[in-house]
Symmetry: C2
Subunit: 434 residues, 2 copies
């Protein structure tokens, strides 16, 4: 398509918006995430010689103009403008998270990268926020890298999980690149490489002292705990990774306390998600922290967010022309937009989805802000802790019904008068001319 | 853990195996994929100065010996041996896809990378094989990159989808790096940037001629088709992306045929997976090819394979010691293994999971082969077409019950006498000493 736009000299400015069509039924909100990687991508985007030569020989591009490969692609840089809802903010179906205003081929070329970056991280950040909510103040560590969809997904998933409120990750690259706190515990192999579990635990605490977390379920959990107590190993925590976690955590607590090891914490892991954690918390299991893996990195109950990137406006003969499509069940709203958040008693009451050039509705706070002009960031990235804190505060201001984990209320997104009218007009025009 | 092994001079050889604990209930088999990226990773693995400095300052590693950072990590290279089931082969629960024999810290350090690489690609290749089966000979194009978990997942997911039988992908990096055929169709934006759909289609066919695929559902599908016919546009195909695909494909075919455009093919897309495609095929919908997106790149019905990487053998005082763990519901089998496939009338009858040094069972064909020694590949990678062909042929030799899409039979994996005996012995020893 980019070659086509170039061939017909269609380099007029266009506006594309990226939004989640509809939230998965189990989600009352989504957390916007991934913007920082989007801006990195746009700032660095270019085509090197090998890439251009590869494209040139593709049969599908045999009729593209030679100048597309010789002149356009070698000089290609993203030089557009980007508006975005800040990372960490809750968003809802239909609301643009990202707005790209650039000449047509540029805005088009970046579609796939923008969608996969924003949707993946938003999916994980949302899941993390739910899991952290279920844990009711107990720390949640992200352990999902080994089931993530490759190394990059492991690293960026851990970043998104931190935005969503996790306390840290076991993914070291994420720690190094983004300053996310890292921590880990021993794996079963540590125990299995030693002649006895007793040797394994002694060696580990000998080296790592009071920061040791001992994994106690390799053979028999309660025997392991009794041994920890009788040997007075005093690790920082023990980790339960299998079995009935309510019962095991109670018995573990009892054994530790009876042996004078009240300070040793209990960490639980093993196929946990927000539902299992909220059940454990409700049952009063004496668990101090959770480790969560695949539920965070792959979100089995909503393994992708149904996001799209669509043209909403194009400049034709110097005039801004709003556009929309009317495919069955996949209608889009025309025009460049803004989202205004509206509060009542410091709780988010509803959002107004309107046209960017409409006046701000009374009391509405605009969410989309300009973050890039002429292909350059307008300011340095927020620190990951700032984004995490924004996410925490903003979700706290959602109503309990929207935040609830099971059967959340549908949040009220209202169309502005201007957008309602424009949608009707554009539909009418399209119906007339087709 | 690696620092711990180093601190206690635990650099004896160990054997770890990677396997899928149990196949998701809807899957009769999985397709092994990702080995080529595993070997790339192992050949290139090293720690640069910045990485080592980052690790050195981590509070969790404060008590690790200085020589770990000063001597061990700077010189670190993977120098072990790897055995693997070739990419493309069907595998079953409990069967090691990968075996790493290396000194303990080396074998341990690679765990996360190996798991995420193999499990993700195997998940996608398996899904692709099922979707291709449902399509009954009609080509399936991979369109999943925009919903993939980031750019790397988009590229490697497309690779795995090709292994699983897809005809090509819209992900250009995958085409460039692995030689997978690429193709695409217009998006809705192409139509929306033009004043009328008629202009949009004319321009596209003008440029791309007989290879054009026209997306016809932007406004009204059947009007678009009648216009294609009346304008005699003769694209290569039209694409339906929404609505009732059975009915729309029938009406589209009728309109195209009546207009003398019998050669124009019909491609269907829009939230398709193996179940929807098999329903479309069963309903006799005149669809010539399918485009599949998120179902391939994110596998909503089995968004990760429950794979693990566990120690099965360690050399202690010069003696090979088989190891296992006995966590509730997470028992592992001790010892270094081999998988022998057994055929009856050229159909796979059962596999034998046994110890690597047991004699080959009568008629059994060993699946695990040595692919890396001293950290170097033993041969060049198979071409992606070779792997795709292997996968096609090998799945054809599975029984219909194992291959079926809904409620597949559980494939028969038998434990060898040697492995059965060893499992009992090791369990007994561990029970005795803990």
């Amino acid at each position: 398509m980019a070659a086509g736009y170039y061939a017909f000299e269609r380099t007029e400015p266009a506006c594309f918006e990226l939004w989640i069509r509809e939230l998965p039924i189990s989600r009352g909100y989504a957390i916007a995430a991934g913007l920082d990687q989007v801006l990195d991508h746009l700032e660095g985007l270019h085509f090197d010689k090998d890439e251009i030569n590869y494209l040139r020989q593709l049969p599908a591009l045999a009729s593209a103009p030679a100048a597309f490969f010789d002149e356009y692609l070698p000089k290609f840089r993203f030089e557009g403008e980007v508006w975005a809802i800040p990372e960490g903010e809750p968003v809802f179906g239909m609301e643009p998270l990202l707005q790209v205003i650039a000449c047509l081929p540029e805005a088009q070329l970046v579609e796939t990268a923008l969608l996969s970056t924003v949707l993946f991280q938003s999916m994980v950040a949302t899941k993390a926020r739910r899991i952290v909510q279920a844990a009711e103040g107990r720390p949640v560590m992200e352990f999902g890298a080994r089931r993530a969809h490759g190394g990059e997904a492991g690293k960026l998933g851990a970043r998104a999980a931190f935005i969503g409120g996790c306390s840290g990750t076991s993914q070291l690259e994420c720690g190094m690149e983004f300053g996310v706190p890292v921590s880990g515990t021993m794996a079963h192999s540590w125990v299995m490489t030693h002649e006895t579990e007793r040797d394994a635990f002694h060696r580990y605490t000998e080296l790592y002292g009071g920061t040791s977390v001992l994994l106690v379920d390799s053979y028999d959990t309660l025997s392991a705990l009794r041994m920890i107590v009788s040997e007075q190993l005093s690790p920082s925590a023990i980790r339960l990774d299998s079995g009935d976690l309510v019962q095991l955590s109670r018995e573990s607590r009892r054994i530790l306390d009876a042996g004078g090891q009240q300070k040793v914490k209990i960490i639980a892991s093993g196929d946990l998600d927000e539902y299992r954690i909220s059940d454990l918390v409700a049952a009063g299991a004496p668990i101090d922290a959770f480790g969560v893996g695949s539920a965070l990195s792959t979100c089995p109950d909503a393994s992708s967010l149904p996001g799209v990137y669509k043209l909403v406006e194009i400049v034709r003969n110097g005039r801004r022309v709003p556009t929309a499509k009317y495919s069955p069940q996949k209608v889009t709203l025309p025009g460049r937009k803004q989202v205004w958040r509206n509060y009542r008693d410091d709780i988010v009451a509803y959002d107004v989805l309107g046209l960017a050039d409409e006046p701000t509705p009374d009391g509405g706070v605009p969410l989309l802000e300009c973050v890039m002009k002429q292909g350059r960031r307008l300011k340095a990235s927020d620190s990951i802790r700032t984004v995490q804190e924004r996410s925490r505060r903003s979700v706290e201001r959602l109503s309990a019904g929207v935040r609830t984990l099971r059967g959340p209320d549908r949040f009220d997104v209202r169309l502005s008068p201007g957008l309602t009218k424009l949608t009707r007009t554009v539909h009418h025009q399209i119906t007339k001319r087709t």
